[in-house]
Symmetry: C2
Subunit: 379 residues, 2 copies
């Protein structure tokens, strides 16, 4: 039912080409996972999503538990049936959202008491709760409950978060029962490589189906993030998938792939799309700009997405200027396809041993702009 194969390795870097098999289908890696926070990619139908080439969607456990509740999703057939997305799904543990969105009442070694950001309702997450919710949702890949510490923070805070994360990882593994779900552990430790190493070693001792690097892209610079990754990824088992959570911009992705990361997720394609920001290999476009008013060309030359095949920049600008819902939808479809084409190109270049040419083909991947500069976090 499950498997992960490394099909090729880059000789110049830590990058690898792989294939991840799940009950709902195969994911070619390195892979980009669009974020369907509440079981829906914002403004995009599952069919449109499939046409962008996406092979796996991410759902947010915290948001789905707040509304409509995992019990409701389970009664409506689980997240695949509920959302109409019948390909692989990954759910996060809720840890990141609890620590970034909710009003926290109390964190102890046992778990977190917080108030829903939606209606202030009191909620409680601990490892068994997170795993039970994720089992109700029924994703193919689920995540251990972790404590994600926003940066910057004190060495003591990072250290305490790592201790909790390891303890909770062990409890998550004990709680997990469904055999049709893979469980990934999450390495925390901020920018402290020794803490990261200790966390990784102890997670590997517990043993997970895959390993995620969490707590990056939360305030540090691109260079800091890549430096940490360069040291942490080699510590992770070579035969298990590695997932960098919440990343990122094309440059972040390319550099992380070179450090051995196999999976990414980010809200950028849809969040930027809704705000009229469009990705192209050459750089980003702001579709509200007057310069596009009479432009009959597609958003990106050579792009095969539905938007580029059927509409001009001038029309997309018109939709944004007049507040038509179709503008965000068409820009999101293009951006989602842009990220899938980027990943497909990375995989192709890995296959033929020429990954180093990616920044020539994608000048945007050399852009000194990190996700933080344009203010993205979770959707």
């Amino acid at each position: 039912m499950f498997g992960f194969q490394v099909l090729a390795r880059d000789t110049q870097s830590g990058a690898r080409l792989g294939c991840l098999t799940t009950p709902h289908g195969v994911i070619d890696t390195p892979a980009f996972m669009p974020v369907g926070t509440r079981g829906a990619i914002k403004g995009v139908t599952p069919r449109q999503l499939a046409e962008t080439g996406a092979q796996i969607m991410l759902g947010n456990t915290y948001h789905l538990q707040v509304r409509p509740g995992a019990d409701c999703v389970a009664q409506l057939g689980g997240l695949h049936h509920f959302s109409g997305w019948h390909r692989p799904i990954l759910t996060d543990s809720g840890g990141f959202q609890v620590f970034s969105l909710a009003e926290i009442n109390k964190i102890t070694d046992e778990g977190v008491a917080f108030q829903s950001h939606f209606d202030g309702a009191p909620m409680w997450f601990d490892p068994p709760t997170s795993i039970a919710i994720q089992e109700q949702l029924g994703a193919d890949i689920i995540m251990a409950f972790d404590q994600c510490q926003p940066l910057p923070c004190s060495a003591e805070e990072v250290s305490r978060a790592v201790e909790r994360t390891v303890r909770w990882a062990e409890q998550s593994k004990q709680a997990h029962q469904r055999e049709d779900q893979w469980l990934f552990g999450i390495v925390q430790g901020g920018l402290d490589v020794d803490l990261r190493a200790s966390c990784a070693r102890r997670l590997i001792e517990i043993g997970f189906d895959g390993y995620a690097v969490g707590g990056l892209s939360v305030g540090e610079s691109h260079e800091e993030m890549i430096a940490v990754l360069g040291q942490v990824t080699p510590m992770l088992p070579a035969d298990r998938p590695r997932y960098l959570m919440g990343v990122g911009m094309p440059r972040d992705i390319v550099e992380s792939v070179k450090r051995g990361i196999d999976m990414f997720d980010c809200v950028l394609p849809t969040r930027n799309g809704r705000n009229a920001h469009v990705f192209t290999a050459g750089g980003r476009l702001k579709m509200r700009n007057q310069q596009h008013r009479l432009a009959d060309e597609p958003l990106e030359d050579g792009c095969d997405c539905y938007t580029c095949a059927n509409f001009s920049r001038g029309y997309v600008r018109h939709l944004f200027i007049t507040g038509e819902m179709l503008g965000p939808t068409l820009a999101s479809i293009h951006n989602l396809r842009f990220f899938q084409r980027l990943m497909a190109r990375i995989r192709h270049l890995l296959r033929i041993g020429k990954l180093e040419t990616i920044t020539r083909e994608y000048p945007i991947a050399g852009e000194p702009v990190s996700g933080q500069d344009i203010g993205f976090t979770a959707e």
Copy 2:
């Protein structure tokens, strides 16, 4: 390039089955035209629209002239290329919007000076202007510039509006040059059948490719509207298409078909869809209602639309409750398909001579609810 054929007539009523040929394709009548005010059906792509079975889309001349301007649409290839909708299009004359949305500075026999509802910019519409704009937009069917008088109003006001409408119709015909566009005249006259008759007679003297009934569904009751139609439609040439503008609810459509109307347009499917109101043959559903929370059934049993084929009521409710853009899109797709299925069923029953069974199959068409009751006008 153009043609209109009546293929069958109902023996029990004035209803007829027809086929309207235009440069961009054929329209089976009675037909329902979804409204793409600014060259986009709100929240729905042209491909999704085509899948609902729509054969023709309506665009609003006034809105398109305000933004992005007909010159811009023309430079971007005309409304078909601009919008990505390559099937037939009809544009209205702008008359209805000028008189309902804009701040009017002055109406004379020559035309209307008004301020754009968007930015207050001074604008001027007269018959040659409306026709020139519609020629730039390039729809298959365009409308004479008319004065649409909101009801209730004095007999004198209605009479003056009819005089202007006839005069402007003549000027519209003189101004119209593109041979790849059909021009329809618009019968005004409020609820005064004598004025309607006089208007119709004089328009027929001028001679148009088709005839619209305007100024209905603007405040009067369903019964008043149907009574006027019952007397006006028989005065129109039997071999020309007849279009009832801005209508309407299923009951309005069914009763108007029986009075000999061939074409309809209305914002109801998309406007109601955006507000979580869903049409079914049995009546309307409010998708935010708690009762749908755990409902795994489709919006409408037996519906073949993308939404009903792939999603549950519970999921659609979840999308509306959480403010996901996909809710309005999925509800609009269903509603658009609902209206197309209703029209297809009307045509089928006309073909087999059993139109009278439509209200048994569609109890909603017997509902004593008119469009006005739920507050729709132009989108």
